[in-house]
Amino acid sequence: MTNATASSPVVEQEASAAALGSTGIRVRVPFWQSVFIIWYRDILRFTRDRARLIGSLAQPILFLVVFGVGLSSAFGAGSGVLPPHTTYLEFMFPGVIGMTVLMTSIFSAMQIVWDREFGFLREILVAPIDRSAVAVGKALSGASQAMIGGIIMLIFAPIVGVRLSVLGVLEMLALLLLLAVSLSAFGIAIASRMKSMQGFQVVMNFLMMPMLFLSGALFPLKGLPTWMAVLTRFDPVTYAIAPVRVSLFSNSGYPAPFINAAQVTIGSYTLPLLLDVGIVAVIGVTVLGLAIAQLRKRD
């Protein structure tokens, strides 16, 4: 035996604690501390893995450059969709930020599948912390990673020619956070069911692409054929992108028609932004509930 004779005061104290048996006092980890632990570990991993961050920005940048520049001429002044002195690139910009948040949030949930594959999920699941704290911590860590991506994308605003205001940016970030938490929770609800990385990736690509393309992130929702207009209104992300765009534009002096082009309408009715936000919040809380239920399941 290597150190059997060594006995420190701590050890003796513990021996008597163990002898006390199940009446020995155990510290209950408070809910928010548990949330923090889960969040902290994910963020620690995230900071060690810069490739992931860069990877999650590559696609939005590509979209911004290729679609933004390519389609600006077609969509620009005179096309009737956007008012004069505004460009499609400007219109698209908040959408691309939303896209960054969407992709990063959802794919951050892959960590759960990864943890399952490498066993660490069991360390989390046998810890005496509530599963709801696990879900919330994971949702917040995914959201944090997504927000970092979104904020980095703001660097492109001057290049794209989007006018920013402090208030507009702050409002937009608050709305993006709601979107990010909801989407991360959605990712977790799916990921906690998945047993393989490949399965998660296939399912997520299958769900994510329509969610992205139908959300109005990449084009105005005005003047669409009816069938597509209906589909876009069924996409929950639609209700997140509209307030994000409006908040960014309305605080920095863009013309009213330009802002209106960003809003969600059903028939001739324009949904108030608070309703948009409410829809996203309700869906977010629901999927978070689903994620918790998934994690609580025992075999």
Binding site: G21, G24, Y40, R41, F120, V126, P128, R298
Partner: protein, 331 residues
């Protein structure tokens, strides 16, 4: 060993996966402070039982309490009082050993002022202080296992569960792991509940339970189990084993099993049997060994299988993984 009551109580425990009955009514008491070995062939229900006790799997029927708390009704209370070392590593490879332990200390509510000291002591116990700030991905299998043991006791659990803790380790590392386990028990009085495939390890346990087909077929100290066999094992080699075997059966009325150039006879009293044997045989006796039954013999008798067939080589591990997948698919 001082008997301070039972730290694990299991009554009529049953677990069904669809039509498959993995655990079929287990009763078990584990005394506080003992090293309890759980022995059985693959698929006997060892891992399922341990998973139920650790609150990872729900039971179908029966009851189980760990550290005084019901596993089904108070999983959180149970979790805070147990430590676990799994068959497969459950470390975060991207983090350092210290970070892994830090996560664990936070998750189990180790008081802030004790954290760094406990982490240091745990790392020292398993001899990983100088590798503490290196990513776990660079660790060998043995180092990972030692780190997991350090982590398992970081929050001073009442029971430390280990599922095949020495599987896939070289003999030297296995011995080290056992040193750690004995040290933990000696210093903190932690009860150790482990499954194992290795007979020599079963011998080191205070008590063992043999499980087969989801039922406990024997329970006691290693000596008690060997005594249950009744008598001795006599192993003989002769110049003509076949003829010797016939003569032992016909002239002495004892059952003989032939194994790898030796004859094996189970008899009530070995020392008395040997002179009779030598007289009764007209072939040349080369060697005679009298020994007490080993746990291998016990295991063979109880389960009809030799444990060495069950020793997990890579093929066995693959088989187990596939079985788990299959089970997983049924959930």
């Amino acid at each position: 060993m001082a008997d301070q009551g039972d730290v694990i109580t299991v009554r009529g425990l049953v677990k069904r996966y669809g039509p498959v009955e993995a655990v079929r009514g287990i009763d078990l008491d584990v005394h506080r402070g003992e090293i309890f070995g759980f022995l059985g062939p693959n698929g006997a229900g060892k891992s399922t039982t341990i998973s139920i006790l650790c609150t990872l799997v729900d039971k179908t029927a029966g009851s189980a309490t760990v550290a005084g708390w019901d596993v089904a009704r108070h999983p959180q209370e149970v979790r805070s009082r147990i430590g676990l070392v799994f068959q497969d590593p459950s470390l975060d490879n991207q983090l350092t050993a210290r970070q892994n332990l830090y996560f664990h200390a936070l998750a189990y509510g180790v008081p802030r002022h004790q954290r760094s000291e406990r982490i240091r002591a745990a790392l020292e116990m398993v001899g990983l202080e100088d590798r503490a700030d290196v990513q776990v991905i660079t660790y060998s299998g043995g180092m990972k296992r030692r780190l997991e043991i350090a982590r398992g006791v970081l929050h001073h659990p009442e029971v430390l569960f280990l599922d095949e803790p020495t599987i896939g380790l070289d003999p030297q590392t296995r011995a080290t792991v056992w040193d750690h386990l004995r040290e933990i028990r000696a210093q903190t009085g932690t009860t150790i509940f482990m499954t194992t495939h290795y007979m020599e390890e079963a011998e080191w346990c205070d008590r063992i339970a043999v499980i087969d087909h989801g039922r406990i077929v024997a329970l006691g100290t290693p000596d008690e189990l060997k005594d249950q066999m009744g008598g001795d094992v006599v192993v003989v080699t002769t110049s003509d084993n076949q003829r010797a075997a016939e003569q032992i059966t016909s002239r002495m009325g004892a059952a003989v099993t032939s194994d790898d150039g030796t004859l094996r006879v189970d008899v009530p009293n070995g020392p008395e049997f040997v002179p009779q044997l030598v007289r009764a045989l007209d072939v040349e006796v080369k060697t005679v060994t009298v020994r007490r039954p080993s746990l291998d013999d016990v295991f063979l008798k109880l389960t009809g299988r030799a444990i060495r067939d069950e020793e997990v080589d890579s093929a066995g591990a693959l088989h187990r993984a596939m079985a788990q997948r299959w089970q997983g698919g049924r959930r």
